[in-house]
């Protein structure tokens, strides 16, 4: 009788599992580029359209820039989150993964990591674009800005990765995801916009710090709650 069973399970192997899942997602995306093209295109279009819509009042444009940036990020985030599970579902690959001795939370964190990474990169790219299009020069605090983008996209990715797993198996999936997600993601969105505003205008660095702290708090709450109950979402 073969024993040959797993190496000792422990936090290190869990970490390796998380990184393997994240790596798989990123590699898969790098090769198919389906979601990347869609999100880059869509977010750019969003920015341009809103620039036109608000364009008559240059003062308004400058003040609206942070909000517009996060709207563009949020919309593209939904698209990429829905896409994130496509390759998993295509040939029953996800089903296979779920029969392995892989902790559900590790699966969740792996996909979250990949999602978060792509969104952060998108955010970093959109920042200068929005700054130029909306005539909102960045007065300073680039590190704070990057921290905001990172934490804001994290909160978004947490909620998106969680709900996308839920809708992946349902019939009306594409239209359902934003409906389910947005009320939950509002605190993250609001905090990110306020923080970005505070940093870009350069007026009050302490204020920005407060909002960033709050954002981190929101992220923590959502992360803990979602990873604890993710295993129920992927049941059949």
């Amino acid at each position: 009788m073969t024993t040959g069973r797993r190496a000792t399970a422990g936090p290190l192997s869990d970490l390796r599992a998380v990184l393997a899942i994240a790596g798989k997602d990123l590699r898969s995306e790098a090769r198919s580029r389906a979601a990347t093209v869609a999100t880059v295109f869509f977010s750019s279009v969003t920015l341009v359209v809103l620039a036109f819509a608000l364009g008559r009042d240059s003062d308004l444009m400058t003040r609206a820039a942070p909000g517009v940036l996060w709207v563009a990020l949020a919309f593209s985030g939904v698209i990429s989150a829905a896409q994130a599970y496509q390759s998993d579902l295509a040939d029953g690959a996800f089903e296979q993964l779920l029969t392995l001795p892989l902790p559900r939370a590790a699966l969740f964190l792996g996909k979250l990591l990949a999602n978060w990474f792509t969104m952060t990169v998108l955010g970093a790219v959109l920042l200068p674009v929005a700054s130029v299009l909306f005539d909102a020069p960045i007065a300073g605090g680039v590190p704070q800005l990057l921290a905001t983008v990172t934490l804001g996209t994290l909160g978004f990715a947490i909620v998106a990765t969680f709900y996308a797993a839920l809708t992946a198996n349902l019939v009306a999936r594409e239209s359902l995801l934003p409906v389910l997600m947005f009320p939950v993601v509002v605190p993250v969105l609001l905090a990110s916009v306020r923080a970005t505003e505070a940093i870009v205008s350069g007026a009050d660095p302490a204020l920005a710090g407060d909002w960033i702290e709050l954002l981190a708090g929101f992220d923590l709450v959502y992360l803990v709650v979602t990873s604890a109950i993710f295993h129920i979402v992927v049941e059949e």
Binding site: F182, V184, V233
Partner: protein, 239 residues
């Protein structure tokens, strides 16, 4: 074999009478017997209905979420039924809250909607609950349906305080270091406070009555659903 639906128990009818009476009395107190406000005149009377249903709507969401957690833990169908019933009530009360808020803000602020934190929170809550029902409608299998909606309700519950904080501080300058839960900032006359509390209790009683009735119906549905469950144990096949 047909089972006749059992008659509604006496105590439930009694509760209904008490609840509706309380509602009527509360309405009378609010509309007639209580004093008009110094600043807002007669319009303040809307507040009694509005605030009381608001508080009960959040109570209902809490009940729904905790019933969902109980379902996840124990698996007994009655918890899922309670969760659905409470969610429906929360949706109803939440909608009434929004209508009350709109009724109040049009004459006073000349707008149907303000992005006031509490109203925003209620609107988001209603949207979240609608999401729960949409998802429930898409899942056929009763166990999965119950578990998934319980999970969504847990996230909903977690998001409510976060939404409140974010909405509250979004429009002010600084996120406050302390949380002011009394909200509204209206120092209330003692009489008005008592009238308000009476109305809250009345609204809660009506909620309880509606909840219990709905749970009865839901349990009956679940029973009928399960009727074809076989009773006997089968012989195990040994291989």
């Amino acid at each position: 074999m047909k089972h006749a639906t059992p008659r509604r128990p006496g105590w439930l009818n009694l509760l209904g009478v008490v609840a509706v009476s309380a509602l009527a009395i509360g309405a009378y107190l609010g509309l007639v017997a209580s004093p008009a406000d110094v600043n807002q005149g007669e319009l303040i009377r809307v507040m009694y209905a509005h605030v009381s249903v608001a508080w009960v709507s959040f109570l209902a969401v809490g009940v729904a979420a905790f019933a969902g957690i109980a379902y996840l833990w124990r698996g007994a169908p009655r918890f899922d039924v309670i969760s659905v019933a409470a969610s429906e009530a929360a949706l109803l009360y939440g909608t009434l809250t929004i209508l009350g808020g709109m009724t109040y803000s049009k004459p006073t602020l000349n707008t149907f909607w303000t992005w006031d934190a509490k109203l925003t929170l209620t609107a988001l809550m209603v949207a979240l609950l609608a999401g729960v029902f949409i998802v429930r409608g898409l899942i056929d299998e009763p166990q999965r349906r119950g578990r998934v909606s319980a999970v969504i309700l847990i996230v909903v519950l977690a998001s409510l305080p976060l939404n409140y904080l974010a909405a509250e501080w979004f429009r002010t300058l600084h996120p406050a270091k302390s949380i002011d839960l009394t909200g509204g900032g209206v120092t209330m006359d003692a009489v008005m406070l008592r009238v308000l509390l009476f109305n809250v209790v009345a609204a809660a009683l009506v909620f309880l009555w509606l909840l219990l009735q709905r749970v009865r119906i839901g349990m009956r549905e679940a029973e009928l659903d399960d009727r074809s469950a076989a009773r006997g144990r089968s012989e195990a096949i040994h291989v």
